[in-house]
């Protein structure tokens, strides 16, 4: 840095009050002006007390500056110094990129505000941060007039209410907290399947429920305008269904939507009444599935109650085609009846029970309902009314149907849809249990889910089944694959793989549960 006198020798400098440039830019400027012909010394530093002292000692000038000021000081020939200061000024005050690529790249977007500043057309924020922060981030997004999807759970109810009331007053949508699935303008968000676009809009309080309805709409040849998740707590009394009512109104006003489907586990009574009244007001036909509620109590003018998720989809497709919706037919075909009888006959006397191992919470719920309708009481970590709470979630007891995607199973673990290894291991354990008659499970495809969700499972089933056979037992396998031919995973090959492993693959979650319940009934199980 010291100038070994090369006369003629000038010292010039310039200071920039309160100019902050990151160190990389400062180094760049420094290197550039040192390269100017005739320059002997160049210093580009912040005006801190020590730096000012050093500059004075180095003979680069006396400065009356504050620490936040930037100093450029150079020594060398007259022309060199003038050129260097001009060059530095250029680099320090230029905005945007320079064509030599030396200017620093644009700062990465680290806040919603930065994102909107860069692209004002952004109008939806997807929030996935720990619950404590999710509410605050959601408020930031709403203040920027963005709709919000909150994937995160564990947002306190008061915060959820505050966010949703704020959004409602500004005609904005809050999907979540705990919203796992949405499809907005054809874009899948969270755990969502790739479905055709079409005229059926969905508002869903349950993630896998929404996945099943959209998948079945696609498979029945129709398509989805939007699927808006509300999060699992929206229809609780404390929140009052604010998001579902908003979603319903939005789809009612949406010219691309002809039919609306509402999906939820049974809401609080007051909330159900409010939602159904709004559905009746809608100018468009509305299919309502409140899982576990009698469709008759839901049905009213322009509102069609459905009992099963797949049935709701079928009704919506019929309505979209201008046809009369029919009740979903779950009658078991004669072929399947024979198969079920054969399966039951091949079982050892110890084999009596269903073991339902689910990754989708709503699938677990629907399967319990269908078994209960056949008089089969099950144990679960998330029991429906009338079922029993499992004493130890790690061990099945008699008839058991568990949701491995529930919090107790996912503490510190990825959800089984993302990493199915715990689910696979559990299925292996069930096959080894001499009292297991049927293993019932779901495989959920789509964005968010594992890229090859049955990769390990087929091996687990193969080896456990060989052990069971050596033990004189033949376990029945029933599964449903929730997904479409457009999903990132290859649905056809997942189904083919399961079938070749001896799994009976149903066309809906409800059908799989009906088959499973039939096998247990055939064994004289049920009322254990």
């Amino acid at each position: 840095m010291t100038a070994t006198a090369v006369p003629p020798h000038t010292v010039t400098s310039r200071s920039y009050p309160n100019l902050y440039k990151d160190s990389v830019s400062l180094m760049t400027v420094s290197a550039q002006i040192l390269g100017v012909p005739g320059i002997v010394t160049a210093s580009v530093v912040m005006g801190s007390a020590t730096n000012v002292e050093n500059l004075a000692q180095a003979g680069l000038g006396e400065f009356e500056v504050r620490p936040n000021d930037l100093i450029v000081a150079v020594s060398g020939t007259d022309e060199g110094c003038a050129e260097a200061l001009a060059r530095a000024d250029d680099l320090l005050t230029s905005r945007g990129t320079s064509d030599d690529g030396a200017a620093p790249a644009a700062a990465p977007v680290v806040s919603l505000q930065m994102a909107v500043a860069r692209d004002p057309s952004l109008n939806l924020a997807l929030i996935s941060v720990p619950g404590d922060y999710a509410a605050a981030e959601a408020m930031k997004a709403l203040r920027l007039s963005m709709d919000v999807m909150i994937f995160s759970d564990n947002v306190p109810p008061e915060a959820e209410l505050a966010i949703k009331e704020y959004a409602r007053d500004r005609d904005l949508m809050v999907m979540g907290p705990d919203c796992g699935t949405s499809i907005v303008n054809g874009v899948p968000l969270g755990f969502a399947n790739v479905v055709r676009r079409g005229s059926i809009g969905v508002v869903g309080a349950s993630g896998t429920g929404t996945q099943e309805v959209t998948v079945c709409i696609h498979r029945n040849g129709s398509g989805v305008s939007h699927a808006l998740g509300t999060g699992g707590h929206d229809l609780a009394e404390a929140i009052g269904g604010i998001s579902m009512l908003h979603g319903l109104a939005a789809l009612d006003a949406d010219p691309a939507t002809d039919v609306i489907v509402l999906v939820s586990k049974p809401p609080a009574a007051d909330v159900a009444a409010k939602v159904l009244a709004a559905a009746e007001e809608s100018a468009k036909p509305v299919v309502v599935i409140f899982l576990g509620a009698d469709p008759v109590n839901v049905t009213r003018r322009g509102v069609h109650g459905a009992k099963y998720l797949a049935g709701a989809a079928e009704m919506a497709v019929a309505l979209a085609r201008g046809e009369e919706p029919r009740t979903y037919d779950l009658t078991i075909s004669n072929d399947m009846r024979r198969t079920i009888r054969d399966l039951a006959r091949a079982m050892a006397p110890s084999q009596k029970f269903v073991r339902g191992i689910f990754s989708g919470g709503t699938f677990c719920f629907e399967a319990q309902l269908i078994h209960a309708a056949q008089g089969i009481v099950t144990h679960s970590n998330v029991p429906i009314d009338g079922n029993m709470t499992l004493a130890d979630i790690a061990r099945s007891h008699e008839n058991t149907i568990v949701d491995m995607g529930d919090d107790e199973f996912t503490q510190g673990r990825p959800h089984p849809m993302i990493d199915p290894s715990l689910r696979d291991a559990r299925i292996g354990e069930e096959i080894d249990d001499p009292t297991t008659a049927v293993v019932l499970f779901d495989v959920v495809l789509g964005y968010g889910s594992a890229s090859d969700p049955t990769a390990e499972l087929l091996g687990v089933i193969g080896s456990a089944r060989a052990r069971a056979r050596a033990d004189g037992r033949a376990v029945a396998f029933v599964a449903y694959v929730c997904g479409t031919d457009l999903d990132p995973q290859d649905r056809a090959s997942v189904v083919a793989g399961l079938k070749s492993a001896g799994v009976h693959v149903a066309s809906s979650n409800a059908e799989a549960a009906v088959w499973s319940a039939a096998i247990v009934s055939e064994l004289g199980g049920g009322a254990a």
């Binding site: 440039k21 160190s23 990389v24 530093v45 912040m46 801190s48 007390a49 020590t50 730096n51 620490p67």
Partner: protein, 144 residues
């Protein structure tokens, strides 16, 4: 310069002198001297540095106050945070790797720290390495 600070940590008068020469010194938005101090703070404020480390952190926190007006606002804030044990994740992870004598971890994490800013990361490493032998308990290791 890093060694001078580390040596002075036990002597308030010497520490104040050294800090007045180091704080705000050198190139960068966070001047190099300040980055060195962050590296030292990261070591002495780490849990592994124990009660000696706590005493050194308290001394640093106390003596640095007088020097902070001499540096940039950004850097003063960074130093105040560092003296309260709040340091960047990459730096924290490097300290943990040093304590664990995890050679590969140290290499990877040091690379990450060196990548911070233009020279800030390397300056931080200089401070960290000056303080580490005196304050971190290293696991006994046989020579390779």
């Amino acid at each position: 310069m890093a060694e001078d600070v580390v040596e002075a940590l036990g002597d308030p008068t010497a520490l104040a002198d050294v800090l007045s020469a180091v704080v705000g010194r050198g190139p960068g938005l966070t001047p190099a001297g300040d980055d060195v101090l962050v590296g030292i703070a990261a070591v002495v404020a780490s849990e592994s540095a124990g009660s000696r480390g706590q005493a050194a952190t308290a001394a640093l926190r106390h003596s640095i106050r007088a020097a902070l007006p001499g540096t940039t606002d950004v850097s003063a804030h960074m130093l105040r945070q560092a003296c309260n044990g709040l340091i960047g994740r990459a730096i924290h992870e490097l300290v943990s790797a040093l304590v664990g004598s995890n050679v590969r971890g140290v290499r990877d994490r040091a690379r990450r720290v060196v990548g911070i800013g233009a020279t800030s990361g390397a300056d931080t490493c200089a401070g960290l390495l000056a303080a580490a032998p005196l304050y971190l308990p290293f696991a006994e290791r046989t020579a390779a």
